[in-house]
């Protein structure tokens, strides 16, 4: 397997020094080139799991291997896209995308590479713009181009379209699908949107909350493009909804309890 997540646990101590389990006994294998969504309600630790794979967060126990190598720190073999574009505002679009290439490439080569990926996200005309001159959706596309420019084997996406409006999101779904078909990256895609995960992924990992565990591993074998297969998509959605309903009820009742006790 390409990505191996073995018995990963993550806990921390809260303000009153009680241990809180964020992730419990997470085991997951991902094949090379697979598009895998990690789906769950807020607080299920799905972003923490992605952050651990990125090397930005340490596990409490367990380990992660990619292509046989253990993950201990961030690396250019894993490109990360966050919910906010996280572009550097003092750099132009071109300079942002060449940021990770500065050390290993000549300026001209770096710019050629960057341009290739900016064209892939249809922003080839915006290379000399600054981030504040772009819309939220355009910024996020630059962030995707920036992650791709390092030519990583794996693309980690943490609710990348969560802050965008519905129309922009739908358009970017199409672009991401094309990019994935074209580049054959392995993608781990964190989302709380059921329909988004069904639309995009080969496999959906459904997570439950408190502690964060894997509830279900669902294979989506609807042929692409999936626009014409509304019925099959709805069936899977109903199926996932049943699982998540319990989890969401759990979160809601806990929040009510918390509200009542304060």
């Amino acid at each position: 397997m390409f990505i191996e997540i073995n018995d990963v646990n993550k806990h921390y101590n809260d303000k009153e020094n009680r241990p809180v389990d964020v992730l419990k006994d997470i085991n997951l294998s991902v094949e090379k080139g697979q598009f895998v969504s990690i789906l769950g309600p807020s607080g299920c630790g799905k972003s923490t799991l992605l952050s651990i794979v990125a090397g930005l967060t340490k596990t409490s126990s367990g380990n992660i291997q990619i292509d046989g190598k253990a993950i201990t720190k961030p690396g250019k073999d894993r490109g990360m896209v966050f919910q906010q574009a996280a572009l550097f505002p003092w750099l132009t679009v071109m300079e942002n995308v060449t940021f990770p290439l500065k050390k290993e490439m000549k300026k001209k080569d770096a710019e050629e590479t960057a341009l290739k990926y900016l064209q892939m996200v249809q922003l080839g005309k915006y290379i000399s713009h600054y981030p504040h001159e772009l819309s939220g959706g355009m910024q996020q596309r630059v962030a995707i181009a920036r992650a791709l420019a390092m030519n990583p084997e794996t693309l980690l996406m943490d609710e990348p379209f969560g802050a965008l409006d519905e129309q922009t999101r739908t358009r970017l779904h199409g672009q991401l699908e094309n990019i994935w078909t074209e580049t054959k990256k392995t993608i781990l895609f964190v989302t709380h949107s059921i329909s988004e995960s069904i639309k995009l992924s080969d496999r959906i990992i459904v997570m439950g909350t408190k502690p964060g565990i894997i509830l279900q591993d669902i294979t989506v074998d609807i042929p692409r493009p999936r626009e014409g297969h509304k019925k099959e998509m709805l069936e899977i959605e109903d199926h996932i909804m049943k699982y998540l309903k319990k989890e969401i009820d759990k979160v809601v009742s806990e929040e009510l309890q918390y509200a009542n006790s304060h």
Binding site: A54, G55, L56, P74, G75, K76, R78, G79, M80, F82, Q84, A86, F88, P89, W90, F99, P100, K103, Y130, P131, H132, R146, A147, M150, L156
Partner: protein, 251 residues
């Protein structure tokens, strides 16, 4: 447009009151000279070049003092921003020193350097250093963790991470720090010059006062105020505005 019109009317009223009051001798010219005599004193000062020499001398000291204070302030600020221990120890001292008016340092400076150029520059440096240091520190501490995470996933670590991400991300605070450092240094310089030897705007101010030349006193005060306002409004506030816009900090 509204504000501009209000301002013009306001200033016209003050100027009219000033000139008419002087002509009607509502007050003695030694207490407050007329606008026209202040104006002719300024023209005279520029024609015989004394005011030009004063301006050059003051700006030379300011350039040296402010440059040194920005460099030292930036370095101290980076240290305080990056090292928790330095922040907890040296940081407390800097915070205390910040509240000491810099002219208070002049007696020490005179003991160390004598009543000369160096003492005045020393006071000017102290005027700008601490406020620059504290702003630089805040800037480094306020860098969005998201930028740092993003940079780390792109392979940036250590000094590379600092020079390419953390420092540029704190530029808005560098600009604000520089603006305040300039304002503090300018005030410190004028205070220092009042008590030292010439040439210099502050020195001429005291010299004119000693000889009862109130027209020159008011004229030089207008110059000092005008320079302060022009540099602040037309240089620093403009840079600050464009940086805030570009860095996406507009609320």
């Amino acid at each position: 447009m509204q504000t501009a019109i209000k301002r013009i009317i306001f200033f016209a009223a003050i100027i009219a009151f000033w000139e008419i009051g002087s002509r009607l001798e509502l007050w003695h010219p030694l207490i407050f000279p007329s606008l026209s005599s202040v104006f002719s004193a300024l023209v005279e000062g520029f024609q015989d070049k004394t005011l030009i020499y004063d301006l050059i001398a003051s700006f030379k000291r300011l350039a040296v003092g402010l440059t040194i204070s920005l460099i030292i302030g930036t370095l101290i600020g980076i240290l305080l921003g990056k090292s928790k221990t330095a922040d907890e120890t040296l940081g407390a001292v800097i915070l205390a020193l910040q509240s000491v008016p810099s002219i208070v340092w002049l007696p020490i400076a005179i003991m160390w350097f004598g009543l000369n150029e160096k003492a005045v520059i020393f006071v000017t440096i102290l005027g700008g250093t601490f406020v620059m240091a504290l702003n630089m520190r805040t800037g480094i501490k306020n860098v969005s963790p998201l930028y740092i995470k993003a940079a780390q996933t792109m392979g940036a670590t250590g000094i590379d991470l600092f020079t390419r991400v953390i420092f540029p991300a704190s530029i808005p605070y560098v600009v604000t720090g520089s603006r305040l450092a300039w304002a503090f240094a300018w005030r410190a310089l004028m205070a220092g010059e009042l008590l030292s030897t010439g040439p210099g705007l502050g020195y001429t101010l005291r010299y004119a006062s000693d000889f009862g030349r109130m027209d020159i006193v008011i004229g030089v005060m207008i110059i000092i105020g005008a320079i302060g306002m022009i540099v602040d409004q037309f240089i620093f506030q403009r840079i600050e505005k464009s940086v805030i816009k570009k860095w996406g900090l507009e609320s």
